[in-house]
Symmetry: C2
């Protein structure tokens, strides 16, 4: 099993933290240089036709991409210390928060970055006005997260889960578009400090 | 258990088809009138802070939103006729395709519709140029889907799965932005005809 990974990219970091929480730190990692386009080769497109990292390549050659699918595979082969829930209700609640974070927070942050940074201008057509609007959309997720964390220790309830990993990585990545959860959001700050204390934080 | 649903909206339709495939057709459905803003009330925001349908309300009052989370809950309580896979590899492959469809196809189609139709102009700031670009991004998913269906009967392999439901509903919804998989894509057409023959299609 090997992981196609990249420096500084948020999506592979979600998987690295998930693996660290599972104690699976000896998986082979192949770091692709994204600015140099190492993910845009024909060879890599055979592993993932959307050309994105991370990709988990199994020993039989099957390639799993998309963070949530890699979470799922790891949880299935290593069920101890579950990060995707135990009961039907827990599993659904974690999946709900993970998707909410992806759709209402991570995806708008990515869009804002891609459409305003200029970094991707030779790979796409940036629309700066959309980049600004996407940042506004992402900022609307903070009150939702704050309200949830005012009533719960972690994003999906009283246990640490994959949804915390997704929220943490997005929160930190949001700095690239100068979006920060400031003192208006004391519960987000409390939760953030809690997560920074976990050994997996540095993964 | 009851489902907050809406006419013509693609996301609740994904859940209705999933329920039909599971033979769970007697769940109470509450249809919200989205153009009238019945999803924008304070009461509904307590069920889902992002104010979107579908929402599955459990008998204990817990509300599960996000289509994939509702898929997960249903699969857990009714495991027969699995739509999310059996083995670790199948589960991850179905989740991978479901996310790919959401990120690379459904989300761009939604964005194109929202930013060009004018229907949502009092609820958001439409950016028409992004709407056009999002349509171009969505169209790039057709070759990926065609290539997969040239080698497999269904989206995630040889068995019908939740990923087929997500792709089917997105494909049909894409007509609102005049995006269609034409005769360039014979395998998508073959697969589409196959899916239309399932009793769940009319759900």
């Amino acid at each position: 099993m090997k992981l196609y990974d990249a420096e500084f990219a948020p999506s592979p970091r979600r998987v690295r933290i998930f693996l660290a929480e599972k104690g699976l730190t000896d998986i082979e990692c192949i770091k692709l240089n994204l600015p140099a386009g190492e993910n845009l080769t024909e060879e890599f497109a055979h592993k993932n036709p959307t050309c994105k990292v991370p990709v988990l390549e199994l020993d039989n050659g099957t390639c799993i991409s998309e963070v949530a699918a890699i979470y799922r595979y790891i949880e299935e082969i290593q069920p101890e210390n579950p990060l995707l829930g135990n009961t039907a209700e827990e599993k659904a609640t974690i999946e709900m928060w993970d998707r909410r974070i992806e759709f209402a927070f991570l995806y708008p942050v990515f869009n804002s970055f891609q459409h305003t940074s200029g970094i991707f201008k030779d790979r796409m057509t940036p629309v700066a006005e959309w980049g600004t609007e996407a940042r506004n959309i992402a900022a609307k997720f903070f009150p939702i997260m704050e309200s949830q964390l005012a009533n719960h220790t972690y994003i999906a309830g009283e246990s640490f889960s994959a949804a915390d990993i997704s929220a943490l990585v997005t929160l930190e990545f949001a700095k690239v578009i100068k979006l920060r959860a400031d003192e208006q959001y004391p519960n987000i700050q409390r939760w953030y400090e809690l997560l920074k204390q976990r050994p997996s934080y540095s993964a």
